[in-house]
Symmetry: C2
Subunit: 216 residues, 2 copies
DNA sequence: CACTTCCTAAAACTTATGTTCTGCCAACAG
DNA sequence: CTGTTGGCAGAACATAAGTTTTAGGAAGTG
């Protein structure tokens, strides 16, 4: 959601529509697309509002070019159409995990978000991200400040890296999951570290880690 | 570069042009854009060739829609326009680094490549990627199979994570760089590990690490 | 009230752009 | 030779889509 100034509801609606349209169709909408979708009576009204949005730096219009609308970010840079994943909170050894609703829908709206390669969402569907706080995940080769990309899940297959919640200990952790009878072996990614064992009933799988992103 | 069957040179040229146009302009070209760029005498010829490319699964045309061309990948899926970074080779403790020409140009052509968030190339310009082989970088919290995204550079500022080449040892490594007089301290990201010291003349900075991507 | 500003409407205009038609030519098979 | 196929050219056509023109209403301001 692009919000910088207080926008008239009509302009906000137009802006949102453009964003969604690009996301879904891959190409920008026409003036008439906008007209229909936003219940505007006339193309000139769309044009008028687009001009203002252009003036205020929300978008760029290539004159005389069909579908020449280009959305801009806060710095006036063209916005990409690659998916953004909401960072629903942080994860640290001692902290409770944020609840992330599997029902995404309005998802990316209320959170900070991170751009991810489109391939990820193509392969795994709706995703969430957690910011890693502290060095408690270092045995999973995950550093303070890393972002882990999560696919919501309640179960995992053996060998998958999961977001695990240890109920008794009230601890969150990132480990490779191995169900062995009714105990679970949690194996650090760093093979030099020892695994942890816990009873299957004490462990709640919150999601699967599909990617880790570290920036410098 | 999209190559699946042997294509007539004209169709290959058209396909390449469409790809470049989308990359540079952010929206697909019109039939007439293609006509001019590929020295075609008539729009009907472009249309004709587009229809064949469509039939053969190279692209998708939305009928009656301006700029309705959409490129498809081998599986017939829409191709995203997020930047791809060439994976110019692998990095491991004992192995020589691949030479990566700073002159990109034909860059992404001959290599495997990885999709990265557009933000990266916006911020850092032309980038390269290295696939990490083995666990020798584990002290940098980088695992076997990780992809490190590199900005080519010959110098680095203190504290930056660099791709370093130790000449005498003939070893490549990923460490934080600190110049101290005429020796260099190479600090593992994992603060529990001890730094390495070497003479500045023995060390060659090959690039700066701007991101690490790990997939599961 | 007169005057301005912001926003909306309806219709017409222009051009950008997808589409079609007709014909030509070379290569090749029967 | 005759027919067929693949590719190209030129022109015209149809409509999708950006742009402009004229006008009116609501809200504020002097």
């Amino acid at each position: 959601m692009i919000i910088r100034k207080k926008l008239s509801s009509r302009r906000q609606r137009i802006l949102n529509f453009i964003q969604e349209f690009i996301q879904e169709e891959g190409i920008p909408p026409t003036v008439r697309d906008i007209q229909k979708a936003c219940d505007v009576s006339s193309t000139s009204v769309v044009d008028y509002n687009l001009r203002l949005l252009n003036r205020d730096g929300y978008l760029n219009r290539r004159p005389d070019v069909a579908r020449g609308i280009e959305l801009l970010d806060n710095e006036g840079q063209p916005v990409s159409n690659s998916p953004r994943v909401p960072i629903v909170g942080s994860i640290a050894a001692g902290l409770p995990l944020p609840v992330f609703s599997t029902e995404g829908a309005a998802s990316t709206r209320e959170f900070d978000s991170i751009e991810v390669p489109p391939e990820l969402t193509r392969r795994h569907g709706e995703l969430y991200a957690l910011a890693v706080k502290g060095t408690s995940m270092i045995d999973a080769l995950i550093d303070d400040g890393d972002i882990v990309i999560i696919q919501p899940a309640q179960q995992a297959a053996n060998g998958e890296m999961v977001v695990a919640w240890l109920k008794d200990e009230e601890e969150a952790t990132l480990k490779k999951y191995y169900l062995e009878g009714d105990t679970v072996r949690l194996q650090p990614a760093n093979s030099q570290m020892e695994p942890i064992y816990c009873s299957a009933s004490n462990l709640e799988v919150k999601g699967k880690v599909v990617s880790v992103i570290r920036k410098f």
